[in-house]
Protein backbone atom coordinates (compact mmCIF):
# COMPACT_ATOMS: atom_id res chain seq x y z
CA UNK A 1 0.00 0.00 0.00
CA UNK A 2 2.69 2.44 1.07
CA UNK A 3 4.89 1.16 -1.71
CA UNK A 4 2.14 1.69 -4.29
CA UNK A 5 1.62 5.29 -3.16
CA UNK A 6 5.34 5.89 -3.40
CA UNK A 7 5.48 4.51 -6.94
CA UNK A 8 2.49 6.57 -7.97
CA UNK A 9 4.09 9.69 -6.53
CA UNK A 10 7.34 8.88 -8.29
CA UNK A 11 5.76 8.42 -11.71
CA UNK A 12 3.63 11.55 -11.29
CA UNK A 13 6.63 13.61 -10.20
CA UNK A 14 8.84 12.42 -13.06
CA UNK A 15 6.07 13.08 -15.59
CA UNK A 16 5.48 16.54 -14.18
CA UNK A 17 9.17 17.47 -14.23
CA UNK A 18 10.39 15.91 -17.45
CA UNK A 19 7.14 15.65 -19.42
CA UNK A 20 6.89 19.23 -20.70
CA UNK A 21 10.47 19.22 -21.97
CA UNK A 22 10.02 15.81 -23.59
CA UNK A 23 6.95 17.24 -25.32
CA UNK A 24 9.05 20.17 -26.52
CA UNK A 25 11.61 17.74 -27.92
CA UNK A 26 8.86 15.85 -29.73
CA UNK A 27 7.50 19.12 -31.14
CA UNK A 28 10.97 20.00 -32.41
CA UNK A 29 11.22 16.87 -34.56
CA UNK A 30 7.65 16.90 -35.89
CA UNK A 31 7.02 17.56 -39.56
CA UNK A 32 5.33 20.95 -39.83
CA UNK A 33 2.10 19.43 -41.13
CA UNK A 34 1.75 17.44 -37.90
CA UNK A 35 2.36 20.30 -35.47
CA UNK A 36 -1.33 20.39 -34.65
CA UNK A 37 -1.61 16.68 -33.88
CA UNK A 38 -1.42 15.41 -30.35
CA UNK A 39 -0.18 11.92 -31.18
CA UNK A 40 3.34 10.72 -31.84
CA UNK A 41 4.93 12.12 -35.01
CA UNK A 42 4.75 9.74 -37.99
CA UNK A 43 8.31 10.51 -39.06
CA UNK A 44 11.22 12.36 -37.54
CA UNK A 45 12.54 15.47 -39.25
CA UNK A 46 15.14 18.11 -38.50
CA UNK A 47 13.36 20.75 -40.60
CA UNK A 48 12.65 22.84 -37.53
CA UNK A 49 16.31 22.77 -36.53
CA UNK A 50 17.50 24.07 -39.89
CA UNK A 51 14.53 26.43 -39.94
CA UNK A 52 15.57 27.94 -36.60
CA UNK A 53 18.80 29.17 -38.22
CA UNK A 54 17.14 30.22 -41.45
CA UNK A 55 16.53 33.94 -41.93
CA UNK A 56 17.64 34.87 -38.44
CA UNK A 57 21.09 35.15 -36.84
CA UNK A 58 20.55 32.30 -34.37
CA UNK A 59 24.08 30.95 -34.88
CA UNK A 60 25.54 34.33 -33.94
CA UNK A 61 23.14 34.49 -30.99
CA UNK A 62 24.50 31.21 -29.64
CA UNK A 63 28.06 32.52 -30.02
CA UNK A 64 27.05 35.69 -28.14
CA UNK A 65 25.60 33.68 -25.28
CA UNK A 66 28.72 31.52 -25.05
CA UNK A 67 30.99 34.60 -25.03
CA UNK A 68 28.97 36.39 -22.36
CA UNK A 69 28.61 33.33 -20.13
CA UNK A 70 32.25 32.26 -20.39
CA UNK A 71 33.70 35.73 -19.72
CA UNK A 72 31.27 36.36 -16.86
CA UNK A 73 32.27 33.04 -15.31
CA UNK A 74 35.98 33.84 -15.58
CA UNK A 75 35.50 37.33 -14.12
CA UNK A 76 33.45 35.98 -11.24
CA UNK A 77 36.06 33.38 -10.37
CA UNK A 78 38.92 35.87 -10.67
CA UNK A 79 37.28 38.47 -8.47
CA UNK A 80 35.45 36.05 -6.19
CA UNK A 81 38.13 33.50 -5.31
CA UNK A 82 40.57 35.84 -3.59
CA UNK A 83 37.75 37.68 -1.82
CA UNK A 84 36.19 34.42 -0.64
CA UNK A 85 39.57 33.23 0.65
CA UNK A 86 40.01 36.45 2.61
CA UNK A 87 36.48 36.17 3.99
CA UNK A 88 37.07 32.59 5.10
CA UNK A 89 40.59 32.70 6.50
CA UNK A 90 41.65 36.26 7.26
CA UNK A 91 40.70 38.90 9.75
CA UNK A 92 40.26 42.41 8.42
CA UNK A 93 38.20 45.50 8.95
CA UNK A 94 34.96 45.53 7.03
CA UNK A 95 34.69 41.75 6.80
CA UNK A 96 31.18 41.69 8.24
CA UNK A 97 30.13 44.67 6.15
CA UNK A 98 31.20 42.85 3.00
CA UNK A 99 29.33 39.68 3.98
CA UNK A 100 26.23 41.72 4.67
CA UNK A 101 26.58 43.77 1.48
CA UNK A 102 26.95 40.65 -0.60
CA UNK A 103 23.84 39.15 0.99
CA UNK A 104 21.93 42.38 0.31
CA UNK A 105 22.97 42.49 -3.35
CA UNK A 106 21.76 38.93 -3.84
CA UNK A 107 18.32 40.18 -2.84
CA UNK A 108 18.19 43.21 -5.13
CA UNK A 109 15.43 42.90 -7.71
CA UNK A 110 17.16 43.38 -11.10
CA UNK A 111 14.53 45.92 -12.18
CA UNK A 112 15.67 48.25 -9.38
CA UNK A 113 19.01 48.83 -11.10
CA UNK A 114 17.84 48.92 -14.71
CA UNK A 115 17.12 52.63 -15.16
CA UNK A 116 20.46 54.09 -14.00
CA UNK A 117 22.46 51.25 -15.56
CA UNK A 118 20.72 51.95 -18.86
CA UNK A 119 21.59 55.65 -18.65
CA UNK A 120 25.20 54.96 -17.66
CA UNK A 121 25.67 52.36 -20.39
CA UNK A 122 24.14 54.74 -22.93
CA UNK A 123 26.40 57.60 -21.82
CA UNK A 124 29.57 55.54 -22.15
CA UNK A 125 28.42 54.26 -25.54
CA UNK A 126 28.13 50.59 -24.56
CA UNK A 127 24.47 50.08 -25.48
CA UNK A 128 24.08 47.17 -27.86
CA UNK A 129 27.48 45.83 -26.80
CA UNK A 130 28.01 42.51 -25.02
CA UNK A 131 30.19 44.28 -22.44
CA UNK A 132 27.02 45.92 -21.14
CA UNK A 133 25.86 42.45 -20.11
CA UNK A 134 29.12 41.01 -18.81
CA UNK A 135 29.65 43.74 -16.20
CA UNK A 136 26.21 43.54 -14.51
CA UNK A 137 26.19 39.73 -14.79
CA UNK A 138 29.55 39.55 -13.00
CA UNK A 139 28.21 41.86 -10.31
CA UNK A 140 24.98 40.02 -9.65
CA UNK A 141 26.58 36.57 -9.80
CA UNK A 142 29.24 37.69 -7.33
CA UNK A 143 27.21 37.10 -4.14
CA UNK A 144 26.55 33.51 -5.20
CA UNK A 145 30.26 33.09 -6.03
CA UNK A 146 31.34 34.46 -2.66
CA UNK A 147 28.75 32.36 -0.85
CA UNK A 148 29.85 29.05 -2.34
CA UNK A 149 33.60 29.68 -2.40
CA UNK A 150 33.74 31.06 1.14
CA UNK A 151 32.16 27.79 2.26
CA UNK A 152 34.76 25.79 0.38
CA UNK A 153 37.68 27.77 1.80
CA UNK A 154 36.29 27.43 5.30
CA UNK A 155 36.27 23.66 4.90
CA UNK A 156 40.01 23.61 4.13
CA UNK A 157 41.83 23.07 7.46
CA UNK A 158 43.47 26.15 8.96
CA UNK A 159 46.62 24.11 9.55
CA UNK A 160 47.40 24.17 5.84
CA UNK A 161 47.22 27.94 5.80
CA UNK A 162 49.36 28.21 8.93
CA UNK A 163 51.94 25.81 7.54
CA UNK A 164 52.21 27.86 4.37
CA UNK A 165 52.70 31.01 6.42
CA UNK A 166 55.37 29.39 8.59
CA UNK A 167 57.14 28.36 5.38
CA UNK A 168 57.37 32.01 4.44
CA UNK A 169 54.34 32.58 2.25
CA UNK A 170 52.49 35.88 2.42
CA UNK A 171 48.70 35.54 2.81
CA UNK A 172 48.33 36.00 -0.92
CA UNK A 173 50.99 33.42 -1.73
CA UNK A 174 49.37 30.98 0.69
CA UNK A 175 46.10 31.54 -1.13
CA UNK A 176 47.56 31.25 -4.62
CA UNK A 177 49.96 28.34 -4.10
CA UNK A 178 48.31 26.25 -1.41
CA UNK A 179 44.62 26.89 -0.87
CA UNK A 180 43.38 27.75 -4.35
CA UNK A 181 44.38 24.39 -5.87
CA UNK A 182 42.62 22.65 -3.00
CA UNK A 183 39.45 24.65 -3.67
CA UNK A 184 39.27 23.42 -7.29
CA UNK A 185 36.03 21.45 -6.74
CA UNK A 186 34.46 24.63 -5.34
CA UNK A 187 35.63 26.61 -8.36
CA UNK A 188 34.05 24.02 -10.66
CA UNK A 189 30.71 24.14 -8.84
CA UNK A 190 30.72 27.93 -8.86
CA UNK A 191 31.66 28.04 -12.54
CA UNK A 192 28.71 25.84 -13.49
CA UNK A 193 26.20 27.89 -11.48
CA UNK A 194 27.50 31.26 -12.72
CA UNK A 195 27.54 30.00 -16.30
CA UNK A 196 23.92 28.88 -16.04
CA UNK A 197 22.92 32.20 -14.44
CA UNK A 198 24.51 34.18 -17.31
CA UNK A 199 23.14 31.83 -19.95
CA UNK A 200 19.61 32.34 -18.65
CA UNK A 201 19.52 36.05 -17.79
CA UNK A 202 16.77 37.93 -19.58
CA UNK A 203 15.94 41.40 -18.21
CA UNK A 204 19.29 43.14 -18.78
CA UNK A 205 19.77 41.37 -22.11
CA UNK A 206 16.34 42.57 -23.22
CA UNK A 207 17.03 46.15 -22.10
CA UNK A 208 20.63 46.82 -23.10
CA UNK A 209 20.75 45.02 -26.46
CA UNK A 210 18.60 46.00 -29.43
CA UNK A 211 20.23 44.60 -32.60
CA UNK A 212 19.13 41.03 -33.43
CA UNK A 213 22.75 40.03 -34.17
CA UNK A 214 23.87 41.10 -30.69
CA UNK A 215 21.16 39.30 -28.71
CA UNK A 216 21.63 36.38 -26.37
CA UNK A 217 19.62 33.16 -26.54
CA UNK A 218 16.79 33.96 -24.06
CA UNK A 219 15.93 37.27 -25.73
CA UNK A 220 16.22 35.76 -29.21
CA UNK A 221 13.87 32.92 -28.30
CA UNK A 222 11.38 35.26 -26.64
CA UNK A 223 11.26 37.33 -29.84
CA UNK A 224 11.25 34.42 -32.29
CA UNK A 225 8.66 35.46 -34.82
CA UNK A 226 7.47 33.97 -38.05
CA UNK A 227 5.95 35.71 -41.05
CA UNK A 228 2.34 34.77 -40.38
CA UNK A 229 2.12 32.83 -37.15
CA UNK A 230 4.30 31.81 -34.22
CA UNK A 231 6.85 29.29 -35.55
CA UNK A 232 6.28 26.78 -32.76
CA UNK A 233 8.39 24.04 -34.35
CA UNK A 234 11.37 26.34 -34.70
CA UNK A 235 10.90 27.75 -31.21
CA UNK A 236 10.89 24.19 -29.90
CA UNK A 237 14.08 23.39 -31.83
CA UNK A 238 15.80 26.54 -30.58
CA UNK A 239 14.69 25.73 -27.02
CA UNK A 240 16.19 22.27 -27.24
CA UNK A 241 19.45 23.68 -28.62
CA UNK A 242 19.60 26.26 -25.80
CA UNK A 243 18.71 23.79 -23.09
CA UNK A 244 20.13 20.37 -23.91
CA UNK A 245 23.77 21.32 -23.17
CA UNK A 246 22.70 22.66 -19.77
CA UNK A 247 20.70 19.55 -18.97
CA UNK A 248 23.60 17.28 -19.94
CA UNK A 249 26.06 19.28 -17.81
CA UNK A 250 23.57 19.32 -14.94
CA UNK A 251 23.07 15.55 -15.07
CA UNK A 252 26.82 15.01 -15.23
CA UNK A 253 27.60 17.27 -12.27
CA UNK A 254 24.41 16.51 -10.29
CA UNK A 255 26.09 16.09 -6.94
CA UNK A 256 28.26 19.19 -7.22
CA UNK A 257 25.33 21.35 -8.29
CA UNK A 258 23.01 20.12 -5.58
CA UNK A 259 25.73 20.67 -2.99
CA UNK A 260 26.37 24.17 -4.30
CA UNK A 261 22.70 25.10 -4.38
CA UNK A 262 21.97 23.93 -0.89
CA UNK A 263 25.22 25.19 0.65
CA UNK A 264 24.50 27.16 3.76
CA UNK A 265 20.74 27.02 3.37
CA UNK A 266 20.40 24.02 5.63
CA UNK A 267 22.87 24.91 8.34
CA UNK A 268 20.98 28.10 9.15
Amino acid sequence: MKKAALWFGLVAAITFCAGPFVWQMITSIRPESELTSLGMPSTMTFESYTGAFHGRPFGQVIVNSVIVAVITTLFCLAVGASAAFALAKLEFRGRKVLLFASLAVSMFPPIATVSPLYLIIRNVGLLDNLTSLIIPYTTFALPLTLWILTGFFEDIPDELYRAARVDGCSPFQAFWKVLLPLAAPGLATTAILVFIFSWNEFLYALTFISTPEKRTIPVAISLFAGEHKEPWGEIAAASVIATLPLIVVTMFFQRKIVAGLTAGAVKG
Binding site: I14, M107, P110, S115
Partner: protein
Protein backbone atom coordinates in the same frame (compact mmCIF):
# COMPACT_ATOMS: atom_id res chain seq x y z
CA UNK B 1 60.26 35.44 22.55
CA UNK B 2 57.78 38.09 23.57
CA UNK B 3 60.23 40.91 22.95
CA UNK B 4 61.28 39.46 19.63
CA UNK B 5 57.70 39.01 18.67
CA UNK B 6 56.80 42.59 19.52
CA UNK B 7 59.72 43.77 17.46
CA UNK B 8 58.48 41.76 14.52
CA UNK B 9 55.02 43.17 14.85
CA UNK B 10 56.50 46.65 14.78
CA UNK B 11 58.54 45.91 11.74
CA UNK B 12 55.58 44.25 10.12
CA UNK B 13 53.53 47.37 10.49
CA UNK B 14 56.20 49.50 8.89
CA UNK B 15 57.30 47.32 6.02
CA UNK B 16 54.98 45.03 4.12
CA UNK B 17 57.60 42.26 3.95
CA UNK B 18 56.83 39.42 6.29
CA UNK B 19 59.37 37.39 8.23
CA UNK B 20 58.74 33.68 8.64
CA UNK B 21 58.44 34.03 12.42
CA UNK B 22 55.67 36.50 11.96
CA UNK B 23 53.30 33.94 10.51
CA UNK B 24 50.17 35.67 11.69
CA UNK B 25 49.35 33.11 14.33
CA UNK B 26 48.90 35.80 16.92
CA UNK B 27 46.71 38.77 16.81
CA UNK B 28 48.72 41.98 16.76
CA UNK B 29 49.70 43.15 20.19
CA UNK B 30 49.85 40.65 23.00
CA UNK B 31 46.63 38.77 22.45
CA UNK B 32 46.88 35.30 23.96
CA UNK B 33 47.61 32.46 21.62
CA UNK B 34 44.38 30.78 20.69
CA UNK B 35 44.74 27.63 18.60
CA UNK B 36 41.01 27.40 18.04
CA UNK B 37 40.92 30.88 16.56
CA UNK B 38 40.18 30.78 12.85
CA UNK B 39 41.55 34.14 11.88
CA UNK B 40 45.14 35.05 11.38
CA UNK B 41 45.87 38.69 11.76
CA UNK B 42 48.67 41.20 11.64
CA UNK B 43 48.90 44.73 10.38
CA UNK B 44 50.14 43.94 6.90
CA UNK B 45 48.07 40.75 6.76
CA UNK B 46 45.03 42.89 7.20
CA UNK B 47 46.16 45.17 4.43
CA UNK B 48 46.67 42.19 2.11
CA UNK B 49 43.25 40.85 3.04
CA UNK B 50 41.71 44.18 2.17
CA UNK B 51 43.53 44.21 -1.16
CA UNK B 52 42.19 40.75 -1.92
CA UNK B 53 38.58 41.78 -1.37
CA UNK B 54 39.01 45.17 -3.04
CA UNK B 55 37.92 44.18 -6.58
CA UNK B 56 34.77 42.52 -5.25
CA UNK B 57 33.97 45.55 -3.09
CA UNK B 58 34.51 47.99 -5.97
CA UNK B 59 32.25 45.99 -8.30
CA UNK B 60 29.47 45.64 -5.71
CA UNK B 61 29.61 49.34 -4.87
CA UNK B 62 29.80 50.66 -8.43
CA UNK B 63 27.46 48.29 -10.25
CA UNK B 64 24.99 47.37 -7.49
CA UNK B 65 24.81 49.93 -4.67
CA UNK B 66 25.39 53.06 -6.70
CA UNK B 67 22.64 52.18 -9.22
CA UNK B 68 20.18 51.52 -6.40
CA UNK B 69 20.84 55.00 -5.00
CA UNK B 70 20.67 56.46 -8.51
CA UNK B 71 17.28 54.82 -9.04
CA UNK B 72 16.05 56.50 -5.87
CA UNK B 73 17.40 59.83 -7.13
CA UNK B 74 15.78 59.35 -10.55
CA UNK B 75 12.48 58.52 -8.87
CA UNK B 76 12.38 62.11 -7.57
CA UNK B 77 12.44 63.47 -11.12
CA UNK B 78 10.17 63.89 -14.04
CA UNK B 79 12.24 62.40 -16.83
CA UNK B 80 11.07 61.46 -20.30
CA UNK B 81 13.99 60.18 -22.37
CA UNK B 82 12.87 61.24 -25.86
CA UNK B 83 12.06 64.79 -24.73
CA UNK B 84 15.44 65.18 -22.96
CA UNK B 85 13.40 66.45 -20.07
CA UNK B 86 14.60 66.20 -16.49
CA UNK B 87 13.05 68.22 -13.68
CA UNK B 88 13.15 67.65 -9.96
CA UNK B 89 9.65 66.97 -8.66
CA UNK B 90 10.40 65.77 -5.13
CA UNK B 91 7.96 63.12 -4.01
CA UNK B 92 5.55 63.96 -6.84
CA UNK B 93 5.92 60.56 -8.49
CA UNK B 94 5.15 58.85 -5.21
CA UNK B 95 2.01 60.94 -4.82
CA UNK B 96 0.93 59.88 -8.30
CA UNK B 97 1.77 56.26 -7.45
CA UNK B 98 -0.65 56.23 -4.52
CA UNK B 99 -3.53 57.19 -6.79
CA UNK B 100 -2.45 54.99 -9.71
CA UNK B 101 -4.91 52.06 -9.95
CA UNK B 102 -2.53 50.19 -12.28
CA UNK B 103 0.15 50.24 -9.55
CA UNK B 104 -2.25 48.83 -6.95
CA UNK B 105 -3.35 46.14 -9.35
CA UNK B 106 0.31 45.27 -10.13
CA UNK B 107 1.04 45.12 -6.40
CA UNK B 108 -1.87 42.81 -5.70
CA UNK B 109 -1.02 40.66 -8.75
CA UNK B 110 2.53 40.29 -7.46
CA UNK B 111 1.37 39.44 -3.94
CA UNK B 112 -1.17 36.90 -5.21
CA UNK B 113 1.38 35.34 -7.58
CA UNK B 114 4.03 35.07 -4.88
CA UNK B 115 1.74 33.77 -2.14
CA UNK B 116 -0.01 31.10 -4.20
CA UNK B 117 3.10 29.97 -6.09
CA UNK B 118 5.26 29.69 -2.99
CA UNK B 119 2.66 27.72 -1.00
CA UNK B 120 2.15 25.24 -3.85
CA UNK B 121 5.91 24.93 -4.41
CA UNK B 122 6.48 24.23 -0.74
CA UNK B 123 3.84 21.48 -0.53
CA UNK B 124 4.83 19.90 -3.83
CA UNK B 125 8.54 20.28 -3.09
CA UNK B 126 8.10 18.59 0.28
CA UNK B 127 6.37 15.69 -1.49
CA UNK B 128 9.24 15.38 -3.96
CA UNK B 129 11.79 15.60 -1.16
CA UNK B 130 10.07 12.83 0.82
CA UNK B 131 10.10 10.55 -2.24
CA UNK B 132 13.76 11.37 -2.88
CA UNK B 133 14.58 10.67 0.75
CA UNK B 134 12.83 7.29 0.83
CA UNK B 135 15.20 4.39 0.30
CA UNK B 136 13.86 2.82 -2.86
CA UNK B 137 15.17 2.13 -6.35
CA UNK B 138 13.42 4.73 -8.52
CA UNK B 139 14.66 7.78 -6.71
CA UNK B 140 17.82 8.36 -8.74
CA UNK B 141 15.61 8.66 -11.82
CA UNK B 142 13.54 11.32 -10.08
CA UNK B 143 16.68 13.09 -8.89
CA UNK B 144 17.71 13.40 -12.54
CA UNK B 145 14.24 14.37 -13.81
CA UNK B 146 13.86 16.99 -11.13
CA UNK B 147 16.90 18.87 -12.44
CA UNK B 148 15.35 19.31 -15.89
CA UNK B 149 13.06 22.25 -15.04
CA UNK B 150 15.80 23.75 -12.88
CA UNK B 151 18.34 23.73 -15.73
CA UNK B 152 15.96 25.12 -18.34
CA UNK B 153 16.25 28.87 -18.95
CA UNK B 154 13.19 30.65 -17.56
CA UNK B 155 12.39 32.11 -20.98
CA UNK B 156 12.46 28.67 -22.56
CA UNK B 157 10.17 27.31 -19.86
CA UNK B 158 7.71 30.14 -20.49
CA UNK B 159 7.74 29.48 -24.26
CA UNK B 160 7.39 25.75 -23.65
CA UNK B 161 4.29 26.28 -21.51
CA UNK B 162 2.91 28.87 -23.91
CA UNK B 163 2.94 26.06 -26.49
CA UNK B 164 1.30 23.62 -24.06
CA UNK B 165 -1.36 26.26 -23.33
CA UNK B 166 -1.89 27.09 -27.01
CA UNK B 167 -5.67 27.53 -27.35
CA UNK B 168 -5.91 25.42 -30.52
CA UNK B 169 -3.17 22.80 -30.39
CA UNK B 170 -1.87 22.90 -26.83
CA UNK B 171 -1.50 19.58 -25.05
CA UNK B 172 -2.63 20.97 -21.69
CA UNK B 173 -5.61 22.71 -23.27
CA UNK B 174 -6.71 19.33 -24.59
CA UNK B 175 -5.97 17.30 -21.50
CA UNK B 176 -7.83 19.59 -19.14
CA UNK B 177 -11.62 19.68 -19.01
CA UNK B 178 -13.26 22.54 -20.88
CA UNK B 179 -11.40 22.36 -24.20
CA UNK B 180 -12.31 25.87 -25.22
CA UNK B 181 -10.51 27.62 -22.39
CA UNK B 182 -7.90 30.02 -23.72
CA UNK B 183 -5.58 29.82 -20.73
CA UNK B 184 -3.33 32.70 -21.64
CA UNK B 185 -6.03 34.92 -23.09
CA UNK B 186 -8.63 34.98 -20.33
CA UNK B 187 -8.39 37.11 -17.19
CA UNK B 188 -8.28 34.90 -14.13
CA UNK B 189 -6.95 31.91 -16.05
CA UNK B 190 -3.76 33.58 -17.26
CA UNK B 191 -2.53 34.34 -13.74
CA UNK B 192 -2.93 30.70 -12.76
CA UNK B 193 -1.16 29.56 -15.90
CA UNK B 194 1.73 31.85 -14.90
CA UNK B 195 1.72 30.38 -11.41
CA UNK B 196 1.86 26.88 -12.89
CA UNK B 197 4.92 27.82 -14.96
CA UNK B 198 6.67 29.19 -11.88
CA UNK B 199 5.73 26.11 -9.85
CA UNK B 200 7.11 23.83 -12.55
CA UNK B 201 10.33 25.79 -12.87
CA UNK B 202 11.18 26.23 -9.20
CA UNK B 203 9.70 23.27 -7.30
CA UNK B 204 12.92 21.32 -8.01
CA UNK B 205 14.98 23.94 -6.17
CA UNK B 206 12.56 23.80 -3.23
CA UNK B 207 12.68 20.00 -3.24
CA UNK B 208 16.49 19.96 -3.22
CA UNK B 209 16.68 22.39 -0.29
CA UNK B 210 14.11 20.43 1.69
CA UNK B 211 15.84 17.15 0.83
CA UNK B 212 19.10 18.51 2.20
CA UNK B 213 17.18 19.40 5.37
CA UNK B 214 15.58 15.96 5.60
CA UNK B 215 18.98 14.29 5.34
CA UNK B 216 20.15 16.04 8.50
CA UNK B 217 17.46 14.32 10.57
CA UNK B 218 18.98 11.25 12.25
CA UNK B 219 17.26 7.97 11.35
CA UNK B 220 17.45 6.83 14.98
CA UNK B 221 14.65 9.21 15.91
CA UNK B 222 12.31 7.49 13.47
CA UNK B 223 13.34 4.05 14.72
CA UNK B 224 12.66 5.10 18.29
CA UNK B 225 9.30 6.53 17.28
CA UNK B 226 8.36 3.29 15.51
CA UNK B 227 9.26 1.30 18.60
CA UNK B 228 7.01 3.61 20.58
CA UNK B 229 4.22 2.84 18.13
CA UNK B 230 4.00 6.12 16.17
CA UNK B 231 2.68 5.65 12.63
CA UNK B 232 4.05 7.21 9.46
CA UNK B 233 1.69 10.18 9.55
CA UNK B 234 2.26 10.81 13.23
CA UNK B 235 6.04 10.64 12.63
CA UNK B 236 5.74 13.16 9.81
CA UNK B 237 3.90 15.72 11.91
CA UNK B 238 5.75 15.15 15.19
CA UNK B 239 9.30 14.60 13.93
CA UNK B 240 9.83 15.60 10.30
CA UNK B 241 7.97 18.91 10.20
CA UNK B 242 9.30 20.35 13.49
CA UNK B 243 12.91 19.35 12.70
CA UNK B 244 12.58 20.74 9.19
CA UNK B 245 11.31 24.08 10.47
CA UNK B 246 14.51 26.06 9.84
CA UNK B 247 14.98 24.68 6.35
CA UNK B 248 11.35 25.43 5.55
CA UNK B 249 11.73 29.02 6.73
CA UNK B 250 14.87 29.52 4.62
CA UNK B 251 13.23 28.00 1.56
CA UNK B 252 10.07 30.00 2.08
CA UNK B 253 11.96 33.24 2.17
CA UNK B 254 14.29 32.46 -0.76
CA UNK B 255 11.24 31.70 -2.84
CA UNK B 256 9.14 34.62 -1.64
CA UNK B 257 11.95 37.02 -2.57
CA UNK B 258 12.31 35.49 -6.01
CA UNK B 259 8.59 35.35 -6.68
CA UNK B 260 8.08 38.99 -5.65
CA UNK B 261 10.58 40.20 -8.23
CA UNK B 262 9.31 37.84 -10.96
CA UNK B 263 9.79 39.15 -14.48
CA UNK B 264 10.98 36.68 -17.17
CA UNK B 265 8.45 33.91 -16.77
CA UNK B 266 5.36 36.08 -16.76
CA UNK B 267 6.63 38.63 -19.27
CA UNK B 268 7.41 35.99 -21.88
CA UNK B 269 4.23 34.04 -21.18
CA UNK B 270 1.68 36.87 -21.26
CA UNK B 271 3.51 40.25 -21.33
CA UNK B 272 1.32 41.11 -18.36
CA UNK B 273 -1.93 40.59 -20.23
CA UNK B 274 -4.77 39.97 -20.76
CA UNK B 275 -5.98 43.39 -19.61
CA UNK B 276 -2.96 43.70 -17.27
CA UNK B 277 -4.30 40.88 -15.08
CA UNK B 278 -0.86 39.25 -14.90
CA UNK B 279 1.13 42.46 -14.73
CA UNK B 280 3.55 42.26 -11.80
CA UNK B 281 5.48 45.18 -10.30
CA UNK B 282 8.63 44.36 -12.25
CA UNK B 283 6.70 44.15 -15.53
CA UNK B 284 4.87 47.42 -14.93
CA UNK B 285 8.16 49.13 -14.06
CA UNK B 286 9.86 47.66 -17.13
CA UNK B 287 7.08 48.79 -19.48
CA UNK B 288 7.07 52.28 -17.98
CA UNK B 289 10.84 52.54 -18.39
CA UNK B 290 11.49 50.94 -21.73
CA UNK B 291 8.23 51.22 -23.64
CA UNK B 292 6.92 54.57 -22.44
CA UNK B 293 10.42 55.93 -21.82
CA UNK B 294 9.28 57.49 -18.54
CA UNK B 295 12.42 57.10 -16.44
CA UNK B 296 11.10 59.13 -13.52
CA UNK B 297 7.94 57.19 -12.77
CA UNK B 298 9.52 53.94 -13.97
CA UNK B 299 12.25 54.44 -11.38
CA UNK B 300 9.61 55.14 -8.74
CA UNK B 301 7.99 51.78 -9.51
CA UNK B 302 11.44 50.14 -9.39
CA UNK B 303 12.15 51.67 -6.00
CA UNK B 304 8.83 50.41 -4.65
CA UNK B 305 9.61 46.91 -5.96
CA UNK B 306 12.98 47.16 -4.25
CA UNK B 307 11.41 48.28 -0.98
CA UNK B 308 8.88 45.42 -1.06
CA UNK B 309 11.62 42.85 -1.62
CA UNK B 310 13.85 44.43 1.03
CA UNK B 311 10.93 44.47 3.47
CA UNK B 312 10.63 40.72 3.06
CA UNK B 313 14.42 40.38 3.41
CA UNK B 314 14.36 42.24 6.72
CA UNK B 315 11.91 39.71 8.08
CA UNK B 316 14.35 37.07 6.82
CA UNK B 317 17.31 38.63 8.61
CA UNK B 318 15.26 38.96 11.79
CA UNK B 319 14.25 35.33 11.71
CA UNK B 320 17.64 33.87 10.94
CA UNK B 321 20.27 36.37 12.04
CA UNK B 322 22.93 37.95 9.89
CA UNK B 323 25.71 35.53 10.70
CA UNK B 324 24.45 32.49 8.87
CA UNK B 325 26.91 33.18 6.07
CA UNK B 326 29.51 31.91 8.52
CA UNK B 327 27.72 28.59 8.88
CA UNK B 328 26.38 29.52 12.30
Amino acid sequence: MTAKHAENVDRGSLSPKLTPEHSGLRKSGDAPFDAAKKKHAGQSDRRQAQLMVLPAVVILVVVAFYPILATMWLSLHRMILVFHEETFVGLGNYGFLLSDPRFWSALSNTAYFAAVAVVIELILGLGFALILNAAFPGRSLLRAAILVPWAIPTVVSAKLWAWLFNPEYGLVTHLLPGHDVNWLGMPGYAMHAAILVDVWKTTPFVALLLLAGLQTIPQDIYKAASVDGAGTIRQFFSITLPLLRNTIVVTLIFRTLDASRVFDAVYVLTEGGPANTTETLSIYAYKTLMRVGDFGYGSTLSVVTFLCVMGISLVYLKVLGVERGKGA
